[in-house]
């Protein structure tokens, strides 16, 4: 098999268009025992905050039909510790690292972008303006075109690194946010983050998550993600990184047909630590013509 699946996404060279999604792959180290990081298209880190952040009270995970709810709440050691402790481990590997950043204000996003731009190991930034599990900032930025544009502009000014903006699905019209963010200088979009959900334990009569609500991910949300990628692909010119419930190469292909240029795998990693590797192998077999936008 000599198929070449390499792509250039927003200026980042990837061996193949399959990346690990933010928050589901730690900082790479945790899964390095179970899968060869050098084979992965790119690793998007767990979202990094400026200052250390404790995260939400447990339980943080609940299972739902073909999906999971999570309310991690952006637990983070802060950007300094990320650079000092987590990043060096990745020096050994030949895989682009995309740092996901999450600020509580546009100034924090800019500050994070600036700090991380100094590191040679970072190939690009993903702005998480769509986390449903924090009170300040988070999804609020991603639900309003103006706020989303503001954050993007602030980060754009602070860095020369490729800028991917990650969109929230919890909106009436995702193309409005996509267009606003494109205009504000984003090099690519990634979608979707989790859908805001909730589950109640009928025995205790209490929510299953410590944070009451959480973000829904996994195969259950795939039809929504596919629809949003398809809509957005028609609305913007910048490339789209699609995600939401991808477990197999076939699932990934569905996203390419919908208009994605690359994909990310999140919850799938939990189900099978070799999920990404298997997807990449599957795409090599399928060949590049299945990796292009469908005609409809």
């Amino acid at each position: 098999m000599v198929t070449d699946l390499s792509i250039e996404l927003a200026g980042i060279k990837l061996k193949n268009p399959v990346m690990a999604a933010s928050g589901t792959f730690g900082y790479g180290k945790e899964y390095s025992e179970f899968c060869d990081l050098n084979q992965i298209g790119a690793i998007v880190t767990k979202s990094i905050t400026l200052k250390p952040k404790e995260g939400n009270p447990p339980p943080r995970i609940a299972e739902t039909p073909s999906g999971i709810l999570n309310a991690i709440g952006l637990q983070s050691d802060g950007v300094e510790k990320f650079i000092a402790k987590a990043l060096p481990f990745l020096e050994k590997f030949d895989v682009p690292v995309i740092a996901s950043i999450a600020g509580g204000s546009k100034e924090e996003f800019a500050e994070l972008a600036k700090i991380l731009s100094k590191s040679k190991r970072i190939a690009g930034l993903e702005l998480n303006i769509s986390c449903p599990n924090v009170k300040k900032g988070g999804m609020l930025f991603g639900c309003d075109p103006d706020a989303a544009a503001e954050v993007t502009k602030a980060a754009r000014k602070a860095t020369k690194l490729p800028l991917i903006v990650k969109l929230s699905p919890n909106v009436t019209d995702i193309t409005l946010i996509a267009k606003a963010v494109e205009k504000a200088g984003a090099d690519a979009l990634s979608l979707i983050n989790t859908l805001l959900g909730m589950a109640i334990d009928i025995n205790t009569k209490k929510p299953k998550l410590g944070n009451i609500t959480g973000g829904l991910s996994g195969p259950a949300i795939r039809p929504i993600a596919i629809r949003m990628v398809w809509q957005t692909a028609q609305a913007v010119k910048i490339p789209i990184v699609g995600m939401g419930g991808i477990m197999t190469a076939e699932d990934a292909i569905e996203f390419f047909l919908a208009g994605a240029s690359a994909v990310q795998v999140g919850t799938g990693n939990f189900v099978d630590p070799k999920c990404i590797i298997k997807i990449i192998e599957g795409l090599y077999k399928a060949g590049p013509d299945l990796l292009t936008r469908g005609d409809f």
């Binding site: 945790e30 899964y31 179970f34 919850t267 990693n269 939990f270």
Partner: protein, 246 residues
């Protein structure tokens, strides 16, 4: 060789044992560690299920898990008497710490919390440590147990098996009888029991939390400690009881 099927469907609440064969990492497993198992090939149930290592056969590269049927995942597993084609991830977690200098150990199990403690008891016995395993439960359990080389005390809240009363009552007596002689104490079971044990004495507790990744990547299985949130899957499942904020 292929998997051996049990042939019958087990009911909720039943305790089952499954032997996992041809597991290359079996010799590396230590007491208190766990594995995660994918229960089926579809999207229901979605997440892998964590299970403590119940007993290991290092030569045969096999190990056993002991579990209570709760939902779809455990029901799926219960079909297998022996399995060699399941998707298993492990060894995971830190495991119990054994202090070779302290010659007496008490292990306190609440119900199915017995699973990792029998493995621990066997390893302690190998190290010539005197082991007493206290198993407490609401009512008589139907668990196949063979305590070889150590003492097994059973108590039930309704008195249907062993002493009537709580495991912590027995533990209390025991600790008092020891009269401050050095003891290693280990506990595994429902959170309420672990908390009660921790109030009696410092010990090593094996905790449970709903897990997504099982490898420390998702930060899902947080437990509050004096040093902030720790991950049950990576920093645990075994913690010092005094580090936990109960």
């Amino acid at each position: 060789m292929s998997s051996k099927w049990r042939g019958t469907q087990a009911a909720k609440g039943t305790v089952c044992k499954t032997v996992i064969r041809r597991f290359e990492s079996a010799p590396r497993l230590i007491p208190g560690q766990f594995v995660t198992i994918r229960c089926g090939t579809g999207t229901e149930p979605l997440l892998r299920r964590p299970f403590a290592v119940h007993r290991v056969n290092r030569e045969e590269k096999s190990f056993e898990i002991l579990y209570e049927i709760k939902g779809e995942g455990t029901r799926f597993l219960s079909q297998y008497e022996e399995a060699d084609d399941l998707d298993i991830l492990g060894p995971l977690g830190n495991g119990f710490k054994i202090d070779l200098n302290i010659k007496n150990a008490i292990l306190v199990a609440g119900g199915i919390g017995i699973a990792p403690l029998t493995f621990l008891a066997e390893e302690l016995v190998k190290e010539k440590i005197n082991v007493t395993l206290i198993l407490g439960s609401k009512t008589k359990l139907d668990i196949p147990l063979s305590a070889i080389g150590y003492k097994l005390l059973i108590c039930t809240e309704d008195g249907s098996e062993g002493t009537k009363g709580l495991a912590t009552d027995l533990l209390n007596e025991f600790v008092r009888a020891q009269n401050f002689a050095p003891l290693q104490i280990y506990a595994c079971g429902p959170k309420a029991m672990l908390k009660a044990v921790a109030q009696i004495t410092n010990c090593q507790v094996s905790l449970e939390e709903i897990m997504a990744c099982g490898v420390g990547a998702c930060l899902g299985c947080a437990v509050k400690t004096k040093d902030g949130y720790k991950m049950v899957c990576k920093d645990g499942p075994v913690f010092n009881s005094e580090d936990i904020i109960w």
